[in-house]
């Protein structure tokens, strides 16, 4: 009995503070997750490390509670953070400046996803964790990268969230230089 309790507690700590595997349903993140030519659903590793600090970057794939239905979890990509101005795809306004503490999330599959283009910018507090890797099926094991449509996002020079340089991408360095010039 004692062992079951302690074992359960250890699993609980890992689940709430380290991370857990999660199955992806739906096609809203196609082609990054569940591509059309794949027979099986992808499983991802949902990392909870640092989830209490809410230090997310543009391009992170995150899991969030749907603002319309609290029972539903969504997986989306962060496009813009507070202060940024984003060109929307199908929203009622052509351009949106993200309010304090909010972010703009979209699925990779444009127009096929229930995302910020429908419900607007969301509060960062709804984000539960970050998807870091695809862990199943074996042929698709890979890290999830941080790309986002930079041409649609205007980052103000005094933004608190200047993208950090990431040599594997090469593009985020550009944004820093652009910001310094301004």
């Amino acid at each position: 009995m004692n062992k079951v309790l302690v074992g359960g507690a250890v699993v609980g700590v890992i689940y709430s503070a380290v991370g857990f595997p999660s199955k992806i349903r739906g096609r809203s993140m196609t082609p990054t997750l569940n591509p059309d030519d794949s027979k099986y659903s992808d499983y991802i590793w949902m990392s909870k490390l640092g989830s209490q600090q809410f230090k997310y970057q543009r391009g992170n794939v995150v899991c969030l509670v749907s603002p319309k239905d609290p029972k539903e979890r969504l997986i989306k990509r962060i496009i813009a953070l507070e202060g940024d101005t984003v060109k929307t795809l199908a929203y009622k306004n052509r351009q949106v400046t993200i309010p304090e503490g909010h972010c703009w999330v979209e699925g990779d599959s444009k127009y096929r996803s229930c995302d910020s283009n429908i419900f607007g910018a969301i509060s960062m507090g709804l984000i539960q964790g970050r998807a870091t890797h695809i862990i199943w099926p074996p042929s698709r094991i890979q890290r999830l990268d941080n790309r986002y449509p930079e041409e649609r996002v205007q980052i103000p020079p005094d933004s608190k969230h200047i993208p950090t340089s990431n040599p594997s991408l090469g593009t985020s360095k550009h944004s820093i230089l652009a910001n310094e010039k301004e």
Binding site: A9, V10, G12, S16, P67, K68, D69, G101, H102, G125
Partner: protein, 155 residues
């Protein structure tokens, strides 16, 4: 060798009870010290309350409940407010707030009991249910104010 054994046993105990305490706080409930004056006179700064997390998971929140919520404008801070309206309720036309006439699906309307000193839904609008972190169950300290939270009169 004896010392090694003592250290080993102590560490084992710390990890064991730490894990159990963490899970209780994460999934069942925890105690919290309150700050600020936005919920006066129900809760004053420095009061200690018990927050339970189970009702939130079962979507069992009603009008009049006092809840702990992530601030919609700063996810790193938690605020304590009273749920005054739930999804589908019609907002009071006389209120000065510039928001929609109805609380949208999946949202709640939060207000502090101390209306003048409270930054709440009248400032930032309806709050998504997913931001709620727990329901305040009991005031436990100071002892003379121990008890359940008295419902503020809501019509």
């Amino acid at each position: 060798m004896a010392l090694c054994r003592v250290i080993h046993l102590t560490l084992h105990k710390i990890l064991k009870y730490g894990a159990i305490i963490h899970c209780t706080a994460e999934f069942v409930g925890h105690i919290t010290v309150c700050h600020g004056s936005s919920m006066e006179p129900t809760i004053k700064g420095g009061d200690v309350v018990i927050v339970e997390k189970i009702s939130i998971n079962f979507q069992n929140i009603e009008r009049g409940d006092v809840v702990l919520c992530r601030s919609p404008v700063d996810p790193r801070t938690l605020v304590m407010k009273r749920v005054t309206l739930i999804e589908g309720d019609v907002l009071d036309k006389t209120s000065t707030s510039p928001f929609l006439a109805k609380v949208p699906t999946g949202h709640v309307w939060l207000e502090g009991d101390n209306t003048e000193q409270s930054k709440d839904s009248n400032d930032y609008g309806p709050v998504p249910y997913g931001l709620l972190q727990g329901k305040v169950l009991l005031k436990v300290f100071p002892i003379n104010r121990f008890g359940l939270l008295k419902d503020k009169c809501l019509d």
